[in-house]
């Protein structure tokens, strides 16, 4: 999908732009494994924040200040020191449950995904968890996940400062309605209609009659993304930076 260009802006860049807007005004954003689009958004948001936003990018040496081993991110999250984090899923359902484990009956999954990583924990503790999944199809956005790696909602008695905030796909932005425990269509990307989203989504969600278009990055922001930020991204995600911007790491 990332190869589809819309007025010279790629789908990945539209997603990066949408996520960047959600990080404005935050203090500390952490980015986990296999998250090039959120990683790019976090680094762009930092560049736009005038140095106010801290970013901890896992897998990076230059953009990661943790000094106490693999556990520090998680301890930091439980203390409330991380404002936003990003999760994806092989399947995501309409209640915000995510499946990172596999398809079919567990444990002998016929298609096995890598596993839950830190999701079962961070989903409860980080206030603004932004879900991302470029492939927007009935295969990925399902009525009910085959395995709940991390639950979208919890009963009242469960300690849960964190949870789903939004779901950004290759077609649109959904916001999570914590009261109703379901997604609401917030905006559709340029060139996409509400009907396209409805057809490509396997779960039910709330949608108003008219839905705005996802606000694109300004040309200054896009230039920043494609130059300075792209080179920072290339340290951790060289394949993604090369494919998306033809950029290699420097400085």
């Amino acid at each position: 999908m990332s190869s589809i260009e819309l007025d010279g802006v790629s789908r990945a860049e539209i997603m990066i732009g949408a996520i960047t807007r959600m990080l404005q005004g935050l203090r500390h954003v952490a980015v986990g494994a296999s998250s090039p689009i959120p990683g790019s958004a976090a680094l762009l948001a930092r560049a736009l924040s005038g140095g106010k936003l801290r970013v901890s990018l896992l897998g990076s040496r230059k953009h990661n200040a943790f000094t106490d081993g693999g556990r520090e991110l998680f301890d930091c999250a439980a203390q409330g020191r991380i404002d936003a984090f990003f999760l994806s899923g092989g399947q995501i359902d309409g209640s915000g449950n995510i499946n990172l484990v596999g398809l079919g009956d567990y444990p002998r999954s016929q298609v096995r995904f890598p596993g839950s990583f830190g999701s079962a924990y961070l989903y409860h503790l980080v206030p603004r968890v932004i879900l991302f999944r470029e492939e927007h199809s009935p295969r990925t956005l399902v009525p009910k996940v085959d395995f709940i790696s991390a639950a979208g909602a919890s009963p009242e008695n469960v300690y849960r400062p964190g949870g789903p905030y939004a779901l950004v796909t290759g077609l649109c932005v959904f916001m999570f309605d914590k009261e109703k425990r379901q997604f609401r269509l917030q905006s559709v990307h340029p060139g996409v209609t509400s009907a396209d989203v409805r057809e490509a989504t396997g779960f039910d969600y709330i949608a108003l009659e008219t839905v705005p278009t996802t606000e694109p990055l300004s040309s200054d922001e896009l230039t920043l993304l494609r130059t300075e930020v792209a080179r920072q991204v290339a340290e951790t995600y060289p394949a993604f930076a090369a494919k998306t911007w033809g950029v290699v790491e420097s400085g």
């Binding site: 000094t67 556990r71 998680f74 439980a78 596993g115 990583f117 989903y123 469960v158």
Partner: protein, 275 residues
């Protein structure tokens, strides 16, 4: 303690990992004793309970493909941009290994409990996850300090029989410098035995140097070590050498089939020249 008392040949080092042992190995951004894992496979090790701290990748997949593993505890099994480890996926599909699916902080916390010598540790989150349904060793209690209802998950301590790691250097006393990769410190504290391969031994004392000391595992925790230059290849060792991306991609391709894995193992593990 002098380092000479700890140093053994690589074959001797891996002979200290008995069949059936629980073996902790670090994630691939940390210190991977890849050559030691190949030696362990050559030894024909069986029935390992592998503990990935907190995720497993190439080394875990080699061990699974070579039939050394009966169960895996991991928060994820991943080859990064190369996807799910293929021998792991096949073993899951065919029901040949038992998977104890976990989440990253649960593995760190279990080791932290072992490090403290306590039987269990509470951890936030996880409630509502299917992980909890399938992990019969995880329990939910009510926070005994809460005024009201506050369910919280408790996890048993993870005390590996052996931790196996690779590091940049040991000093003349057998202290091992790991720098900022402190999950290896946690592993050494938690495991009953810690086996280490190092790039080199330096004739110095890391504990006498303020800059080095904080990133050093004291020899107290080290059971044995071997000098294995390039011991993390082809995975790579931060600060020393990068991954051999072509070789790793070749593995991911070859290991999609049992036969492909065998040919790859013959070449890189058993040193056989293709017929």
């Amino acid at each position: 303690m002098q380092v000479g008392n700890l140093v053994v040949e690589l074959e001797e080092l891996v002979s200290r990992i008995p069949d059936g042992a629980s073996l902790a190995i670090p994630a691939e951004y940390s210190g991977c004793a890849a050559e030691a894992v190949r030696a362990l496979i050559r030894r024909g090790c069986r029935n390992l309970h592998l503990i990935a701290v907190p995720t497993g990748g190439f080394m875990a997949d080699w061990l699974i493909g070579a039939g050394c593993v009966s169960s895996v505890e991991a928060a994820a099994m991943t080859l990064g941009e190369l996807g799910t480890p293929p021998r792991f996926s096949a073993a899951i599909r065919e029901g040949r290994i038992r998977m104890k699916d976990s989440t990253c902080p649960a593995i760190h916390a279990g080791l932290q409990a072992a490090e403290k010598g306590i039987p269990f540790i509470p951890l936030r989150g996880i409630l509502g996850s299917d992980l909890l349904r399938y992990r019969s060793d995880w329990k939910v209690i009510n926070n005994p300090f809460a005024e009201g209802d506050d369910p919280i998950v408790i996890l048993p301590a993870i005390r590996p029989d052996v931790a196996l790691i690779h590091a940049r250097a040991a000093d003349r006393h057998g202290n091992v410098w790991i720098g900022v990769r402190r999950e290896m410190m946690l592993m050494a504290h938690a495991a009953q035995a810690t086996l280490v391969t190092v790039e080199r031994i330096e004739d110095t004392d890391f504990l006498a140097d303020d800059a080095m000391e904080a990133g050093t595992i004291p020899a107290l925790y080290i059971s044995a070590l071997s000098v294995v230059p390039g011991g993390a290849r082809p995975i790579g060792l931060a600060g020393a050498y990068g991954p051999d991306t072509a070789e790793l991609a070749e593995y991911a391709r070859a290991a999609r089939t049992e036969e492909g894995f065998q040919r790859w193992a013959d070449r890189t593990i058993y040193g056989k020249v293709p017929a």
